[in-house]
Every structure is written in C-alpha cells, then in structure tokens.
C-alpha cells in the first residue's frame, strides 16, 4: 500500500506547495487580482490527497502484507475469497432514475422530485436488504 500512499501524499504536497506559491505571488500589489478562489481550491486539493494518503500511509505499516504488494507473489498466494461482488441488481437503475427525477425538478418544478425521492427511498432500502441478504429482492 506504500506506493498508493505516496501517490496521494505527493498530490497533497503539490496542492499545498502550489497553493502557497500562488497565494504568495498574488500578494504582490502589481497584480490587480483576487486569488482567494484559487488558493482555496488548491488547498482543497491538498486535503483531498491528505485524507486517503495519510490513511494509507498509516495503515500500510499495520496491515498484513498483501499478495499484490509482493513482487515475488505467485498466483496461489492470492487464492481465496477476494471480496463480495454483487450480481445483478435493479437498484442502481432505480437510484439513477430517482436522481434524474430529482434533478429534473430543478427544471420542471418540485413535483418530479416527489417521485424521485420515493424511488430513492425504495432504492436505498432495496440495496441495504440486498446486501444483507446476499440476494436479489
């Protein structure tokens, strides 16, 4: 996990460094320009890399080594259950449709949002039950 951590921390470092540089250059009164927007956005880039990056950095020292981080690993060493991959499910479609209806209410009025939120509720309930039960509803 170390490479992934490093990648994200580099992004974070870059955001901080360039954000600081941008802010500092913008202080020069020669430039009649507002730099608060850019500084905040670059600061946000720093945070975006920092959160997962530092987590991976912290976790990579504590986790059990994974087969994919081991350059000598063989196909056997990665054998076994890798994870849960939900098969066919209607709920992504329902949730997508609900998002469409909710967003269209921004154009056509709140009434489509009523349908949208109802479908969204159905989708959330459906996905939770599907995940717990391990099967389609």
């Amino acid at each position: 996990m170390k490479s992934e951590a490093r990648l994200l921390l580099v992004v974070s470092l870059f955001g901080a460094a360039i954000g600081a540089l941008f802010w500092a250059v913008g202080l020069n009164p020669v430039y009649a320009t507002i730099t608060s927007g850019g500084t905040i956005m670059l600061g946000a880039v720093c945070l975006l890399g920092l959160l997962p990056g530092y987590y991976y950095h912290w976790w990579s020292r504590r986790m059990t080594p994974r087969a994919e981080d081991d350059p000598e690993a063989t196909p056997e060493s990665g054998a076994g259950v890798i994870g849960v991959f939900p098969g066919s499910s209607i709920w992504p479609f329902v949730l997508g449709l609900s998002a469409l209806l909710v967003c269209l209410s921004l154009v056509f009025g709140f009434w489509t949002a009523i349908f949208g939120f109802s479908l969204a509720l159905a989708a959330v309930v459906g996905v939770i039950l599907e995940s717990r039960r391990g099967g389609a509803i």
């Binding site: 087969a67 994919e68 350059p71 690993a73 259950v81 939900p86 066919s88 469409l100 967003c103």
Partner: protein
C-alpha cells in the same frame, strides 16, 4: 445474485461456479452490474453522442463554407456549437474513455474479477444516460437547447441573458454526469488499489491503468468544483442569488475561475486515458516493452498535478489574473508531455513495427498531437494569447489535441480492444481506409483554421462578410469536415460488417502483453479462470516469450542466482510454485 468470488489457485474447469438462472433480455441489461456489460453500454452510448455531435459539426462547417450564409439561423448556430462542444467533451470523450474502455479493461489488466463497486458502476452508467438524454432534451424545449457555449460564461448564462428550460436542462445534465464521473473515478482508484493480481505491484501495473488512476484522482479534484459552480449558477437563475452578477455584489469572473479550475484538469482527464491507450498499443505492435516505464509514470503524475495549477491560462485576456504564474505553469506542462512523446518514439525505436489499424491510429495520434501540443505552448504565452484568444487559432489547437487524443487515440483503442470485448475482429481494409480518410480529412479541416485565426476570424460566429477574405480557407476546412464524416461512416460500416459476417477473435489476436489478453474473447463471467505469474509490467509476454523477457526480469533471476534460460511453465500454467519451478 451475489457471488463470493474466489481467485483461482489451481486450474479450474471452464464454467466456474454454478450460476443461478438470472434475468434475461432487457431486464438482464438493466440489472447488470458486470463491468463488461456496463463498459459496452458506455461505449455504444458515447459513440451515439459522438456521431450526433459530429453531425452538428458538419452542419456548422456547411454554414461557414460561404460568407453571409443562411443554412442555419444565428440562434440555431449558437445552439449547435454549444451542443457540439458539450456533447463531445461531457458525453463522448470522457465517458468513452473512463466509462467505456477503462471500465472494461482496467479490471482485466489488473487481474480482477470486476470493479471494486459493481452496483456503483451500474449507477454511474444510469446517471450518465439520464444526464445525456437530458442534455439532448434541451432541443425539445420551446426556447431551444442551451446556446451559451460549452463554457457557459456568466453573466451570459444567467436568467436574464439565457432564459428558458434548455439552459436549465444543460445544467442538470452536468450535475448528473458529474456525479457519474465522480463515482467512476472512485471505482477505478479502488479497483487498482485493492484488487490487483498477486505480484502486480503498483510499478508493474500497465501504463493504461496508471493513467486511469491519475485520471481518477483528477476527476475527484475537478468535477466537484464543476458541480458546485453549476449549482450556484442554477441558484443565480432561480433563487435570486447574485453570486455571479455585479448588481448584487457578485463577481462574474468567479465563474471563469471555478469553471476553468475544473476545465483544465478536465482536458487532461480527457487526454490521459487516450495517452494510456496508445501506450498499450505501441509496445504490442513494436514487439518491445514500453520505453521508460518509470518515466511514463512520473510524467503522468506530473501532468496530472500541474494541470491543477494552470487554469487561468484560459483567462489571460480578462486582465485580472496572475499572468507570469500561469504562463510558467503552462509552459512546464510541456516538459512531461515531451517525455511521453520521446518514450513513445523510444518504444517504437528499433522495434519490429506492424501497422495494423490500431498502430496506424496511434501513429496518427502522435503526428497530430505533436502539432497541437506545440501550438499549445504558443498559447501559454500571454502576448501571443492576446492576439489569438477566442479565434480559430485556438479552435484549431484544441481540436488537434482533443481530436488527436480522443478520436485518433480512441479509435486506436477501439480497434485494439474490440476483439476482446466482442469476440470478433474488425476488418483491416476498412480500418485502414477509415484511418486515411481521417488523417487527411483532419489536416484539411484544421490547418486552414490556424491561418483563419491568425487572419482575425473569431470563434463562435455564425457567419462572416465576404469582405473579410476568409471564404476560401473556410471552404477548404469544410471539405475536410466532410472527409472526417466519411471516415467515421466507414468505421460504422466496419462495425456492422463485423456483426453480419464475423471473423472470430482468439483470446490474444495481437500477441498482447498484458493480462486482459490472458483470457478468452470475450472474457467469461468474473474474467479469469487462471492467472499467469506477474513479474513485470508484461506478465503475458513473459509467459509467452520467456526467452525475451525484459531485463528487469533477467536481473531478478540473476539476483536469485538463477541465470540462464527460463523454462516455459507449459502444462503447469497457474500452478507455478516458488523459485524451484524456474
């Protein structure tokens, strides 16, 4: 039905774990969470948008072929260029790359059974489809589709200057497709971080997958800013806020700052996947490894990082941005792009080059993108930008880079991976014909446009007077556009022919190097019955051509004190034990 997926440690019988009688027909498609099905859905949908946007372009070029032309009205023309840009950038180039090709290929390249979050993947597609239909739906409204350009500058895009439902549908469509992209970005990063095959360290991941990881991170950086800007625009239009209007104390330039903070990473989000695609094709058709793998990774990360710090080079003529800062950052991006170029050439150098259609389109990409990149460096200079901003010079530049990557690169990827996805080959003859029409058509369309820009023709104008003297260059450009249209038509015919009279594709028709070729075409449910050992970025090449493994591998063997020839695993494929088997 949910399956707990096991990675096979031993050779398995084809057929794998038993499957329930799942849904069939339309319901099967609607409920599918298989990245291969979703990837193909994205491909087909995005290509439909591509053709629609292409028709719009042909209409625009027809209008501009003569001065004072009335093929379309000014209003219609304004809708056309807005929707052409929006469809191409938001609904074709991005979704084709990360929703279509990457969705299908990245799990295969890392040896995973599916994307990390299959249902989220499906949701991404439905959001994209809904968003796309909404954007096109703008044409059906009374006032017509959005007509403020794909960039929707404030105050032009506010309720006073652009009233009606069409712009609102455009805004809504971007909110939906924005979330679609964000979820795909999360999915790609999670898949590559968590689901790689044993032995596939990050620095053995294929370059296409590396590019998709950086693209994923860029998506997470850029799209939320777009969504926020859109929500604020909607609020200005409907809730009486004054975020972007001067009268209420707002700042119109804020729109540009927010939009381009998204907009510039966006063009790299669009370009990097296609860079990755050609980086897969060059090694295979040169029968050599990627030249400078680590340099490529470094360059990709640098491009991604720098792309977040150049946004105001789109705003040089506003008079309110830090010119030297953004100019320098924009120049610097040329350096890692140059590294990539030299590495691509180095991959081909002294190789054994075979110019099948994917390779033709990849070389075409190189030739076209180079010129576009050089003119991009010109535009990074504010004085030159003052003279060329918002003219056809810029139009020619960005078409060279975007068309070069998304269309030349995209067609290269399509021809390369079509056999894997659909189990059949596309015809070489039609592919080559398509390429030459596209290559010639491209230069005929866009080279005159550089000159038109230098002669003072602004962009986004519906018509011009004969006294400008721009007619002949415009005519030439229009002829080129028709050639491009023919090129795309030939490609569609090629796809059609491959369905009516298919040529079966084997698992590895191109002698590919990476894991997606280590399974059947198309791959079975959950992708792999067995995986070869991964000891470099070319696990399948190492497996198939053990006498020609890369030097890294030989170093590895030498380090273990086992110099000399490596024996092919043969019948023990997949059951490679430890060092003793080598």
């Amino acid at each position: 039905m949910t399956l707990l997926v096991e990675r096979p440690g031993v050779v398995e019988e084809p057929g794998g774990p038993e499957h329930d009688h799942g849904p069939t027909g339309l319901l099967k498609w609607v409920t599918s969470t298989d990245h291969k099905v979703i990837g193909k859905s994205y491909l087909i949908t995005s290509l439909v948008f591509f053709v629609l946007a292409g028709v719009m372009a042909v209409l625009m070029r027809t209008q501009l072929a003569s001065p004072d032309n009335t093929v379309v009205s000014q209003h219609t023309y304004n809708e056309l260029f807005t929707m052409h840009g929006s469809l191409m950038l938001y609904l074709f180039a991005g979704p084709f790359a990360f929703g279509g090709i990457a969705n299908y290929i990245v799990p295969l390249q890392v040896g995973a059974p599916d994307m990390a979050f299959p249902r989220l993947n499906a949701l991404s597609y439905w959001l994209y489809l809904g968003g796309g239909l909404t954007m096109i739906g703008g044409f059906l409204t009374v006032g017509g589709a959005a007509d403020f350009g794909w960039v929707a500058y404030a105050p032009l895009s506010n309720a006073v200057n652009s009233p009606g439902a069409g712009p609102d549908m455009w805004i809504v469509s971007l909110i939906l497709t924005g979330f679609s992209a964000i979820f795909t970005g999360v999915n790609i990063c999670a898949t590559v971080f968590y689901l790689r095959a044993p032995g596939m360290t990050m620095f053995r991941v294929p370059i296409f997958t590396w590019n998709m990881v950086v693209t994923g991170i860029l998506i997470l950086i850029a799209f939320p800013v777009l969504t926020a800007a859109m929500v604020m625009l909607w609020a200005d239009r409907h809730l009486g806020t004054h975020i972007y209007t001067v009268s209420g104390g707002g700042v119109p330039v804020l729109w540009q700052n927010l939009f381009w903070f998204f907009g510039h990473p966006e063009v790299y989000i669009l370009a990097l996947p296609y860079f990755g695609m050609v980086t897969e094709i060059f090694p295979v058709f040169s029968r050599k490894p990627v030249f400078g793998y680590r340099g490529m990774v470094f360059a990709t990360i640098t491009i991604g990082a720098l792309s977040t710090s150049v946004w105001a080079h789109h705003m040089f003529t506003t008079g309110v941005v830090l010119l030297p800062f953004f100019s320098l950052m924009s120049y610097l991006i040329a350096v890692p792009t140059g590294i990539k170029f030299f590495n691509w050439i180095g991959t081909m150098w002294r190789g054994s080059l075979k110019f099948d259609t994917p390779m033709l389109f990849s070389v075409g990409f190189l030739v076209v993108f180079l010129f576009g990149g050089v003119t991009g460096v010109f535009l990074a200079s504010p004085p030159i930008d003052f003279a060329t901003h918002d003219t056809y010079f810029v139009v020619a530049h960005f078409h060279e880079v975007l068309f070069g990557s998304a269309v030349f690169g995209g067609f290269a990827g399509l021809y390369y991976w079509y056999p894997k996805m659909f189990g059949r080959m596309l015809r070489e003859s039609l592919g080559k014909a398509s390429f030459w029409f596209m290559f010639v058509g491209f230069w005929v369309t866009f080279l005159p446009q550089y000159l038109l820009g230098l002669h003072g023709m602004p962009r986004r104008i519906a018509e011009y007077s004969a006294s400008t003297g721009w007619t002949s260059l415009n005519r030439v450009s229009t002829v080129g556009a028709y050639l491009l249209f023919i090129a795309v038509a030939i490609m569609i015919v090629n796809v059609y022919v491959s369905w009516r009279r298919p040529i079966q594709a084997s698992g590895n028709p191109w002698d590919g190097h990476t894991l997606e070729w280590a399974t059947s075409s198309p791959p079975p449910h959950h992708n792999f019955y067995r995986l070869p050992p991964v000891r470099s970025e070319r696990p399948l090449w190492d497996f198939n051509h053990p006498e020609h493994t890369t030097r890294k591998h030989e170093d590895l063997l030498a380090a273990e004190g086992k110099r000399g020839r490596r024996h092919a695993p043969g019948a023990h494929a997949g059951t490679d034990g430890g060092p003793a088997d080598r």
